[in-house]
Symmetry: C2
Subunit: 228 residues, 2 copies
């Protein structure tokens, strides 16, 4: 998070926080862009705000990334990839039992977004308004490591389900529906956070408690639903 609540005030000359290198300029701009785009949405993001947060001028942002649209694309791909890795990049996740797999997915996801709660909403909104970005993302991902792991995981889940349905220890359900259910139950509270908090009258702390409770109980809820 790097306390970058830098006020609009321009800084004397190059380098914020004199002497702290803090990565090369391009990276600093990209980091700032990620924060700004995620919190404002692509449409609401302003290059000036990105520049301020990176400690450079707005012109320099375009020097490195040529156009707002190009920067938006870059940020989207970056954020989406980071998220994917956080979810399926963990080593142990894809040869475990169905139960522990579900538990791992749920807890990994909640932990990943808990302190960056705008990310799911950003990704979903962006996907809604720029579906081609999703297609490019998926297209590029094909064959890469995370994508192969996801495919293996899906295959594993499918086998597990078939086995259990066959021996009568699970209700019939397609892997697709199960995975969408898992995603829905974990992701939705973040996307709906502002509405839920208002309707329930929760402050940040109580909502956080609510998420803790969920993190604890969700795996059991799901696994329970699978019994025949």
């Amino acid at each position: 998070m790097t306390d970058e609540s830098t006020p609009p005030a321009r800084r004397s000359t190059r380098g914020r926080r004199a002497g702290v290198p803090d990565g090369d300029t391009e990276q600093r701009i990209l980091d700032a862009a990620r924060r700004v785009f995620v919190r404002r949405g692509t449409g609401g993001a302003r290059l000036q705000e990105v520049a301020d947060e990176a400690g450079v001028t707005q012109a320099l942002v375009l020097y490195y990334f040529t156009s707002k649209d190009a920067l938006a694309e870059r940020v989207f791909l970056d954020v989406a990839r980071t998220m994917m890795n956080a979810l399926i990049g963990r080593p142990t996740s894809f040869d475990a039992s169905l139960e522990s797999l579900i538990e791992q997915l749920v807890t990994a996801y909640i932990d990943a977004v808990r302190h960056a709660p705008f990310i799911p909403g950003y990704l979903l909104a962006e996907a809604q308004q720029q579906p081609e970005r999703v297609e490019r993302l998926v297209g590029q991902a094909i064959g890469t490591m995370p994508s192969q792991m996801a495919a293996m995981m899906l295959a594993h889940v499918t086998r597990e389900i078939e086995r259990r349905v066959a021996d009568g220890t699970m209700r019939p359900m397609t892997p697709r529906q199960l995975l969408v259910n898992v995603m829905a139950l974990t992701i939705f509270p973040f996307v709906a956070q502002p509405i839920l908090r208002t309707v329930m009258g929760f402050d940040e702390q109580r909502f956080s408690d609510f998420l803790d409770e969920r993190r604890r109980e969700l795996p059991a809820f799901i696994i329970n639903a699978l019994r025949p």
Copy 2:
């Protein structure tokens, strides 16, 4: 939907589709605004597009609604209220058994948004970026009929849960978590539609089949998860 794919071309004078009254102008503008705001998001919406779709000039849009922000607020409240009514406005819904209540909620919701799939995403994104709008909405709703029905429903669900937990026919679960689960499972597929479709490689028809399957199986999934 009213085939309003009107091209930017200006029409001769007043009234599109000569002779068709089609409701008064203000209403036509509001309808157009609802479509445009929902599909583009508030930030991405352009008054010119609203005007084109309503068959009037951009100036007239502002004549009726004074500012884009005012129009945005009006549209948000409108859409949110419509959605609420579709969900909890049905007469039978709040004295039924827990099972049939869940089934009614799920199917009513899926049927309501099925042919306007951008609505959930619009509402959630808007709530994220303008939380005060949600607060005003909730504030205004207090005491109204739909809000009273919602309160009754919540009370009913709470009683039902307590009864069942007490006699051992249900796992302990707070009504809050249950309701969030129901919402998550029904709403999420719509919000995530572009991503899901791309990742699964579904065209519109197959996605529609996927939703049918969900509509059929989701109630059982949820009810099943409640068993002790």
